[in-house]
Each structure stands twice: as structure tokens, then as C-alpha cells.
Subunit: 196 residues, 2 copies
DNA sequence: GTCTATATGAAGATAGAC
DNA sequence: GTCTATCTTCATATAGAC
């Protein structure tokens, strides 16, 4: 049930760098999902990892840095897709590329997405976090297709929260991942390609 | 900036029942919006009201009951609209009625909606709260129009989170309320009325 | 990298006076 | 309805040994 954390790809060393850090982030991600950020204590994280609070503090000087690291690990999954979408000249294809990956990520995590997306602590922390801001601007630029009109902005805002929110919605709790993915992709595509 | 709390309508007494309770709920709503549920302590609420923690405990035996009361007050605003929508035989008109009111409520509160909608504490609390479940079922029944197919479920889940999420989205932070309202209404209507 | 031990503060909650 | 005072538990955080 723990999310995987990327290791140093291509290294011959199986546990090369930050194995302890990675364990903390993985445990934190699970707990944040279930209890929210403020509802998760360092004690809980330490217990989940199987170490003491002091050991956790040795990896991350504050709880806030754990939160930032956790969100960054998840967002990093979108990095390559964002690169590919920006390199794609046909912006309908670019949009489709991005949509597919965002939906995959959201469906794969369901409840986690909503918490990390809307928790007031996360929102405040990431608002002060420059790399995150740039990341989001790139994402929205593809979503709006360089159209800064109110209609385009509202449309992009709706679709980006609709995907994250819908995956954890009680109405779709009974749907299997494949069905949810394909419906989300179809509906989001229609919505974004619809009339102005 | 404080939200109003309904008093006993039609009473000749200006502060008839639960004035103290109402002050607590109004202060809690503001704080929950800014800090989240877990990020809001009883001390903060007491300070905002201008009394001690013990006085707050006299009104609500636990913090959880403050949360439930706060959410109930907000949801109660939708009650009359839900009645009207259910009484409307033309289900396109019923949908429009509901949409207009939900958007009004969401735009009027912006940041608050997202917190109350997605906070894990609220989600857990309301999941055990029967009146809330019934309320939501009525709402979703109008949204899906008695269609329980995966397509209809995902569509309803998307639109219900899209409205709540979009109002607090950075992309629309610069839009005035009127513009946001009309765009939301137009886009949500198109989305719900679109092809299956 | 992990531990024990501890400091300091704030959390939720209660008892009982006014 | 509100107060003071107090309890217990848990939080974040630090110091220093292994």
C-alpha cells in the first residue's frame, strides 16, 4: 500500500541515496492521505517507518519539509509528460498526452490526490515554493492553450479540479480503475474541446 | 467577513436562541476556511469569539460537534433549492435551478468550500452523519437524473467537484464574482448537457 | 543512522465558582 | 454564559550517546 519512491535510476547500487529519506516520504504520503497533513504527527510517521521521532528529524529538520518533499515526489511523475507535451507541435495531441498522464496519476492514487491538492497547509506551503509555481504555470499553459480569457481560465480551473476531485468522489467509489480512467478521459476531452 | 448564522426567523426577539452557539459557528467557519479543521484549535475559536475555551465547551461538548454544526449551517442554505428542484417536473429546469444556487453558494464563499468539501476530518465525520448522506443523495439524484451508468456517475462527480474546486483556483483568483458565476454556469450547463 | 531522554508548549477536555 | 484553574495527552523540537 506504500507508494514507491524513485531511487537513483541506473545505479548499480540497490539502495544508493536517501533510502531513509525515501522511507519517511513513503510513509508520510500514506498517512497524509488518510489523516490529512495537520492530522498526521511526526510520531505517526516515525511509527510507520519503524524508527523514533529523532530519527525522522535527522532526515528532515521540520515537518514542513516532509510535506514539500512528499508533494514534490508525486509531482515529479508529471515532469517527463510535461516535457513531451511542450515539445508536441499539435496542441490537441499535447493536451491528450497531458490529460492521459494526469488521469493515470489521479486514478492510481484516488484519495491522496484530493488531500494534497486542497489541504490548506499544502496550499500555503506550495504558494511559497517557486519550483512548484513554475511547474503549475507550465501545466496550465498547456491546458489553456495560451488563451487567457475568463472562459479559458474557468474551463482550465474546472477540469484540473474535476479530475482530482472526481477520483475520490463517493459516486465513483464502485467503479473499477479502467472504467474510471476511460470515462474521465472522454469527458475531460469533450469538455476541453467543447464550444466556447 | 463573518458568515451569518440563521436565527429563529419571525421571532420578535432579536437574539432569541443560540446566540452564543451562532457566534461560535460563525468564528469556526472563518477559521476552518483559513487553517483547515485540524489546523484550527478550540483556543483559536475561543479567541475569535472573545471568550475562553471553557465557554466554547459549554456550547459544544466536543470539537467534532462544532465541525458538524458548521457544515450543517452551510448546507442548510441549499435545502429550499433542493425542495424546489425536486418539485420541478422539467428536469432541465430543475438542474438549472440547482446549478445556479450551488454556484452562487460556492462563489460567495470561494476558499471555504474547498476546505469543507475535501478535509479528511469532515469527510470522515459526515460519512457517519445520516442527514448529510440523505442530503447528498438528493443532490446527486438531480445531477445524474436517475441515470446510474458509469458515464453519468463520473460526469456528476466531475461537475460537483469542478464547481467547488474551481472557485478557489489560482487561475480564477483575478476574476470578479459576476464573471466567475456566469462562466461556471455556462460551462457546467454545457458539460452536463453534452453528448453521452 | 538510530537511539534515549528531555524541554517546552499547546492540544482537547473537565471541575466547579460566579 | 462565562470564568479560573487544572488535567492529561500529544505536539514539535533538541542534546548528546552509540
Amino acid at each position: 500500500m506504500h507508494a514507491e519512491v524513485p531511487s537513483t535510476a541506473g545505479s548499480s547500487n540497490p539502495v544508493p541515496y536517501g533510502a531513509a529519506k525515501a522511507r519517511v516520504v513513503a510513509a508520510a504520503l500514506d498517512l497524509f492521505t488518510e489523516q490529512g497533513i495537520s492530522g498526521t504527527s511526526l510520531q505517526m510517521i516515525a511509527d510507520a517507518v519503524g524508527v523514533t521521532k529523532a530519527a525522522v528529524y535527522h532526515q528532515f529538520p521540520t515537518k514542513e519539509e516532509i510535506v514539500v518533499a512528499t508533494v514534490e515526489v508525486e509531482l515529479a511523475r508529471l515532469g517527463p509528460t510535461l516535457d513531451a507535451a511542450e515539445a508536441e507541435p499539435d496542441h490537441v495531441l499535447a493536451l491528450d498526452l497531458l490529460l492521459t498522464q494526469v488521469i493515470d496519476l489521479a486514478v492510481g492514487h484516488r484519495r491522496m490526490v484530493v488531500t494534497l491538492q486542497h489541504d490548506p497547509v499544502v496550499v500555503r506551503l506550495l504558494a511559497e515554493h517557486a519550483p512548484f509555481q513554475q511547474f503549475m504555470q507550465r501545466l496550465f499553459r498547456i491546458l489553456t492553450g495560451d488563451d487567457a480569457s475568463p472562459a479559458a481560465r474557468v474551463r482550465a480551473a474546472m477540469v484540473s479540479t474535476a479530475i482530482g476531485g472526481a477520483v475520490s468522489h463517493p459516486l465513483v467509489a464502485g467503479l473499477d480503475d479502467d472504467t474510471l480512467r476511460s470515462q474521465l478521459h472522454r469527458l475531460a476531452g469533450t469538455f476541453l474541446g467543447g464550444p466556447d
